[in-house]
Amino acid sequence: MTQSDTQTNTATGYEIVRREDYSDVTYMLEIRHPLMARAARPGQFVIVMSHPEGERIPLTLADFDAARGTITLVIQAVGKSTREMQQSCQVGTRLYAVAGPMGVPTHLGHAKQVVCVGGGLGVAPIYPQARGYHEAGARVTSILGFRNAPLVFWEDRFRAACDEVLLCTDDGSAGLHGFVSDGLRQVLAAHPDVDQVVAIGPVPMMKACAEVTRPLGIPTTVSLNPIMVDGTGMCGGCRVKIGETVKFACVDGPDFDAHQVDFDDLIVRLRRYRGEEHAAMERFSEHCRMHDMAAGL
């Protein structure tokens, strides 16, 4: 490591070197951060602030490339911060803060037959795990779920990194017509020797996958996404119920044993700031409207 590598760009921000848009709500940002590109491991995430007045939002490391010195985030625009970033984050602009890699890296054990299930928002975050298991010598099947064909992204990346890829769409416009949990049942029937399942996506989807594997006793991990502030174990905002114990997802996770997770508790807690989030979004939309009017659009 050289001296300049330890400079973490506090003063200048973190440069966006590439951007791709996968749909009108999903976009990819590749960010220069050589030190993090080297340190990152599958299962970890970062906390991003796009500007000094911004919110600290957690985003999974969807890829990292030590040779290029970059990390990759795939973001779904769901509220004020992620939509604002969709507008402001262009190649050459800089993010105010990027901290990480946070969380305990995925434990890539000695599993031989692994299934990685990514639903919607979860497709990108599961990519490093799929690749990681494959590199560790496992046979990897990935199940990728999207609402419809135009939303599909990264199929090529998964095909390059896995032994088998099963695409599922809710409307049947590409691949299997059905949910990823249906796909999971199908894959488990074809491969009775599956010894590890990983599922990342919306909470109901992860819950459904956990219910598929529970009766079969297949070890299953999920990556939980509670609301976070610091990401360093200091605020307790990210606490989740795992069996009878309370864990902090940012430092004890975010990977947990799916069969121990209290998903209903997580669903309730994710709704916590709904009113405030709505207010922020309204204000932001209003601001955009005024801006468009001023620009004569």
Partner: protein, 496 residues
């Protein structure tokens, strides 16, 4: 001045009052409550000090500030000189004057306090510290560079003070901080109305003038490890001051209801993220109309008073012991009472009650009474049978202490103690050669001045280890080494 000996009878009997913001006004703002002394007030208060030849107050101060010496200079209108005395022992007089629990430390041992009110040492210290900031006295001393690189992990008071000492000794110092702004608890925990951000910024600027570099957004342990710092990154010595973090939940039914949060989360959102200005800032604020805060330490007082300022109509403190055992600074409890906070002493929560949507609707409590003293020497609270009752609230804030933050332990080979804190010897040396630790990550939650003291102790040991020996202190310098007074300097002696 010194000609006539002061006695308890000749000094002004009453403690000089300090101007404060009116309670009715201040519950609507985050401006500082305590306005501080002006020069005349400071001078008057300084004349109350008996200048004891064997001052007990000094024994009460964790860093042993020469209190009568700085007060004597104040009395002689030499504020600059007073600052020099303070600067020998403390890096942050403007901070410690504000936040030290003086009644348990220096002022608690003051001789004058045996018969009268003790000398207002903290207020005097703050006066000097504020003057130094206003007039930019923290001048850049002459520093002879050394080839050593020192890494500091965490930018709280322990890290700041270790950084300052090592920079003054000529080392190239880099402070790594996980958050986007430095300052530790001073920044994210203690609210502006007790410790304005401007004071923290000024102290940090002082460090930058000493050549200290801050690298924020840097989660040490995960971005690089402690072992990497002393290995491939080439740091000659490392200090870890990552604080206690990891808030405790009560472990009672209802803990995970919406509306139950830790004081750290409330305070971080409000102070660090500016959530009180939501939605012009993006971070939302959990806002209750009727808030209960569990606990009665400094963190609890801050959570209570922040909730009040955010517009809660009813703010209640639940504490299972009595007022006498309450660990918060006396001034904070007093201010909280003035601000209309309701204190329910001897009340322990049994369960947080929720509605059908999973939101908090109340707390079921139990009355306690004080029994036999426990291990801490305080009388143990025991439940009064049949005394259960409910209070209606829509937000519950836990301020019941913290555990060790796990990140450094998870990512390094450092020896930890049974409770997960970093194990050190009395100088702060850890089980890894070249690595020191101090502050809350070693002792568990303590005080700003203790953390600062730990940072300085570690710096002293580090300097010795690097072969940099310090030229006694500045005061001794004019006689011992012939250096002009007021020049912070270190004469390096190679220790074989």
């Amino acid at each position: 001045m010194a000609a006539k000996k002061r006695t308890i009878r000749t000094i002004p009997q009453e403690r000089t009052p300090v101007r404060e913001q009116d309670p009715a006004a201040r519950i609507h703002n985050f401006d500082e409550v305590n306005c501080g002394y002006d020069a005349a007030e400071a001078k008057r208060e300084s004349s109350r000090c008996l200048l004891c030849p064997e001052p007990l107050c000094v024994k009460g101060c964790p860093v042993g500030i020469d209190i009568p010496a700085f007060i004597a200079r104040l009395g002689a209108d030499d504020v600059h000189g007073a600052y020099d005395v303070l600067a020998r022992s403390t890096l942050l007089p403007a901070v410690c004057g504000r936040v030290c629990p003086q009644e348990n430390q220096c002022e608690g041992r003051c001789k004058g306090g045996e018969m009268l009110e003790p000398v207002a040492i903290g207020r005097l210290e703050r006066f000097v510290g504020d003057r130094a900031i206003a007039e930019g006295w923290a001048r850049r001393p002459y520093i002879e560079p050394t080839p050593f690189k020192v890494g500091i992990v965490g930018s709280g008071p322990s890290g700041m003070s270790c950084a300052a000492d090592m920079a003054r000794a000529g080392c190239e110092v880099t402070v790594f901080e996980a958050f986007h702004l430095p300052g530790g608890v001073l920044r994210y925990g203690i609210p502006d109305f007790r410790l304005p951000n401007a004071v923290i910024d000024a102290e940090l600027d002082g460090l930058r003038r000493l050549g200290v570099r801050f690298e924020c957004n840097t989660l040490v342990g995960r971005l690089f490890t402690i072992e990497q710092m002393i290995g491939e990154m080439g740091f000659s010595a490392v200090f870890i001051g990552t604080g206690a973090g990891y808030p405790t939940m009560l472990g009672i039914p209802g803990d995970s209801l919406n509306g139950v949060l830790s004081a750290n989360e409330l305070l971080t959102r409000c102070n660090l993220m500016g959530a009180r200005e939501f939605p012009s800032r993006d971070t939302p604020m959990p806002l209750g109309k009727r808030v209960a805060v569990v606990g009665a330490g400094n963190t609890a007082m801050d959570a209570l008073r922040v909730s009040r300022r955010l517009g809660a109509e009813q703010v209640t403190c639940l504490y299972r012991r009595s007022r006498a055992e309450c660990p918060a600074r006396a001034e904070e409890v007093h201010h909280a009472e003035q601000e209309g906070i309701v204190f329910q002493w001897l009340a322990a929560p049994l369960e947080v009650l929720g509605d059908a949507q999973g939101n908090v609707r109340g707390v079921r409590c139990q009355k306690m009474e004080l029994g036999e003293p426990d291990a801490s020497g305080r009388r143990r609270p025991v439940p009064v049978p049949g005394s259960e009752y409910e209070i209606e609230v829509d937000q519950v804030v836990y301020a019941i202490g913290t555990n060790a933050n796990p990140i450094i332990g998870q990512t390094s080979g450092l020896a930890l103690n049974k409770r997960g804190y970093i194990a050190t010897d009395e100088t702060g040396a850890t089980s890894l050669a070249g690595v020191w630790a101090g502050g809350d990550i070693v002792t568990g939650a303590a005080t700003v001045i203790e953390a600062m003291g730990a940072g300085r102790r570690a710096a002293t040991a580090m300097k010795r280890w690097l072969g940099l020996a310090e030229s006694q202190t500045e005061a001794a310098a004019d006689t011992m080494f012939g250096l002009p007074r007021g020049v912070h300097n270190f004469v390096r002696l190679r220790v074989a």
